[in-house]
Symmetry: D2
Subunit: 342 residues, 4 copies
């Protein structure tokens, strides 16, 4: 019997991507699609790439519209998910693709978001140690941020194996869809094509505490993170270039062994052969993560680089992967490791 | 029992795309992968987006390597397919993604290709009147060119309904993957990003006689074609802007009715609602065709515009769709109408 | 003694481009810069590429702010220029980069803009026959639209030499800056990168009557125009692909001779050597126009293609070129034919 | 009296850019243009954006062709400049845009280039302490690499003021023109559009020792550099994101003061107002450098970011700026700080 899924916030990029994936999911039947400013419009006008749903009309995001589903995906502005989840009741699987339930420390939340903390839900990055067990059977899932997904998968094996000192330096380039669909001057095609630019420099990006939480969790000590995001002239993709000082005794071989071990059995993470580096185009539209790592002996640093599709593995694909685990389905159901390239 | 498929020319863009689609095809098992200059290399180094095939190694394109398959896809330079097909024998389904067997008139072939004509195979554009019947059970298929696919689907309903005079003016923009993977200076990223440029102007493009053949076939008279291709700064996609003078008595309603009728039951072609225009991003990675048509009364012309993915519906998707028909499978098996956007 | 110039609408793309050019103009001193919603802001925050003006602050667009200049460039929404020009008085050179004073026929204006016609000013496309004389000493200039600039320069030699039948079919691709800086969802980088799409199909684009006016003026008969604009994934540039049926007796040589003659002495228009085709990247940031023409005997059509930078020759460069003529300066002062490529 | 300049290697990107700048230089007359594989071709076919030079024909790169000039710019593959310079004699100003004479330490050269060291010439980054004096009157100039230009200008004020610990972590994104015009598969538009990818990871990039040399020189101690270059989907531009641990006592104010002091009088470097970050589009085609710096107290790191045009300030603009100094001209002659944006 099919899993019936609703999507709240179906007109945005995260909502569109989760629909794209659910349309290919053999166990899911797509139920209600809701929006706010776009309620009443045909989905074909808002998401013209989703032809099979073109004639569906967006409802208002109300408890009534979302009732009667097995799974509800929330693609809402932060601060709204708690109320919706409460109305849906404890028996419905609620998957929040926003930030509200990612952070464990209320002080972190309040510092970066300036509002009271709503709580913490099981974290939808199954590749992290212990994460799968917390997701199995859960009725609430907090989908990670796109940057924390890319960064955590690039660096966690080094910290899990205690190979790196507790300060990571991260520079990540993201496609523009990560900034959402609300029109703003600096996101115009005229502005972004042909240009690279940083933002949120100096520790201010809201994904920073989430990275610290993930890396510290596996390291067993607090990991400091210097994170600089940059906007790249492409619609999708994150390339995360991460590095940390190696502890004494680390070699290129010990680094590689740690990554080999971490990802030997992961269905979506691929440690590339030595000498081959990730490219975001290779994972476009897929749930795959390409990872490569090097040890630079001249400076004693481990450099780990990952490429993901920010909308797929970084948002909606991670959400569907976590849903599969929560529902007891095969984790890879409906998901692909094949990118759309060139 | 699975259909066993080989791909000759697996290192190029057409070969990579057919593999991407076959990986998602439930009835197909991927057999031999061959190349010439790249024989002996891992596919992971050549097509890094096809993770499930990363460890496969390319064989030389020889009869031995291609033997023992139910279907062989040829992604070869023109002039080579006839010899390979002959070696494979009459019982194997051979699907040529090159140009060799598309044209019916040997004189056209010789004019545009400068070599003897190899023959004509059933034409893999099922949406054209009569094409499906010719494909059913066939053991040889000539996959259309990418531009002729886009142009024929934009214009044929107007000619089938005898609404347009026999001269079409076509300007099409193509993504750079249409020019292939062989490195040439004018195809460098540095040259194509930020630039639009025409090529093959004045009737010289080799796809022109194929368009004439298709449109003339449905019109029952010779259709002259003025075709100007342009190179657009994007990896994939064709936008074909086509127009022709309307015959007397044509109205906006009669034009729309002809297109409605032509595409009412086509699984991959979508006539968009009035007022919505095709965009290549909406069909990226999918086998869908978006079509829109208008009648400009001020000049008495029908303007028909289509968007396809040149590698999917324009090459490898059309090939798989035709294979499904030839093998008696559901025509849509393994193919999608959902684009990867944004 | 320097010409003192003000720019009304300095925060948009046309305003920014005219400032970029005026900064390099040896006879011009930049005076007031005005805006409306952006009044009070530093130009450095709005036009970060104009470093020498970074600390200038935008004033409100008022008669007082614009008073005391020799030249005032207007980059305003249509409908506002007439009132501003009247306030400035007849002795000030007013150069309108908007649409208000381009069309001669009030009925055309009212059909396409839905408001009363403001009048007609000398037309700032000096390459058109008779245009230079009308600009010399003029105190009012209507700068052409970007598409009409590209299309008129591609086609007028054919019509001036009476080589073409009176119906032109035009498909043009424009960079996104042509759509302006006001943020709209379909202009987001996420939407435009990787995508080609048409708009204003079927005769509805407001630049259509301006093309008809220009071509009819040189032909001495009414030229019908089928015009389809498309949005291309690049910030700047227009590639206009134009064609028309040749009249009897036309040959490739007679076509080429007509273009050679038309552009032999034009400082900004370059008829390319046979076999070389325009590319928008080659004219990026320059006032140059690249033109090529072919005669396709198989369909009896002349195909003429031009490439311009929509913001330079298509807007601000054409404005400065016209200013030079009006003020009696050398027409090329401060302007370049050198593109920024790759 | 005009300075007569020749360009050896005029068909590539560096050669084309230096010609673009020299065409706008009021004191320079362009003499011989040479190439090797392209000798005998019209420049118009190779550099179609340089319309004023379109009919010039490339000569072979021989001593005879280059004789009789005041200045010779070399845009040659590494290893060739020494022989050419020797043939030109000591009285000609030779400006090498290649790598041959940048490094002081022969061991560095041999490690990274695998050939004997040719020597060291005055270094054409005038903004570095002491560099201007060495360039004045010099007849030999080594133009810096594009990455070392961006990185040195981002970081040197911090090291000159002894604010940072001696290990810098740098991730830089470059447009594809930095990889040159020789066609290679991974540089095809189809491959680079929509993709970010790293290369030369782990200390192997040849620009690394040059960065170390520059930063160590101002710091008075050896600065270790972890450098990761990435290829971005744009033709031009470098965004260099650089960071280093701050020494004890550093504050946001002391960092800003150091940068203010370093760049107060530099004509081409602009320290942006606080809160505004560099973007490569803002410096496109200009010799400007946009710099911003922040102190992230949570990790105790200084983050300095610069944006340059890799072909202008990063190569040919730096070359012309250095030429101006060597010849006793005003340093800014013929150069602009105005970018071509959007």
């Amino acid at each position: 019997m099919a899993v019936r899924a609703a999507v709240a916030g179906a007109s945005g990029y995260a909502g569109g991507e989760v629909l794209r994936l659910l349309l290919a999911h053999p166990e899911v039947e797509i139920g209600a699609l809701t929006g706010n400013s776009n309620a009443g419009q045909r989905l074909g006008a808002l998401q013209p790439h989703l032809l099979p749903l073109a004639d569906r009309v967006l409802a208002e995001t109300t408890p009534e519209a979302l009732a009667g589903h097995d799974v509800v995906f929330l693609a809402l502005p932060h601060g709204q998910s708690a109320a919706v989840a409460e109305q849906l009741g404890p028996g419905v699987l609620v998957i929040d693709m926003g930030a509200d339930f990612r952070l464990k420390d209320p002080a972190d939340w309040e510092t970066f978001y300036g509002s009271p903390h709503a709580g913490t839900w099981p974290y939808g990055l199954p590749e992290l140690p212990g994460a799968r067990a917390a997701l199995e059977g859960s009725k609430r899932i907090a989908v990670p941020g796109c940057y924390p997904t890319a960064v955590s998968l690039a660096l966690y094996p080094a910290y899990a194996a205690h190979l790196a000192e507790p300060e990571a330096v991260i520079v990540a380039a993201s496609g523009t869809s990560g900034a959402g669909k609300a029109p703003k001057p600096h996101l115009l095609g005229s502005e972004v094509m042909g240009s690279m630019s940083p933002y949120g420099v100096g520790g201010g990006h809201r994904h920073t505490p989430e990275m610290i939480q993930n890396l510290s969790g596996v390291a067993g000590e607090r990991i400091a993170v210097s994170f600089t995001p940059t906007l790249a002239p492409m619609p999708r993709g994150i390339l995360a270039t991460c590095s940390a000082k190696a502890v004494a005794g680390v070699t290129a071989d010990s680094v590689r062994a740690a990554y080999d071990k971490a990802y030997a059995d992961e269905p979506f993470v691929r440690l590339l052969p030595e000498g081959q580096w990730p490219a975001t185009a290779s994972v476009q539209g897929s749930n795959a993560v390409q990872v490569q790592v090097a040890y630079d002996g001249s400076v004693g640093r481990i450099i780990a680089i990952s490429a993901i599709d920010n909308l797929t593995k970084g948002t909606a694909g991670g959400a569907v992967q976590s849903m599969n685990i929560a529902l007891g389905l095969d984790e890879t159901t409906g998901l692909s490791t094949i990118g759309v390239a060139p």
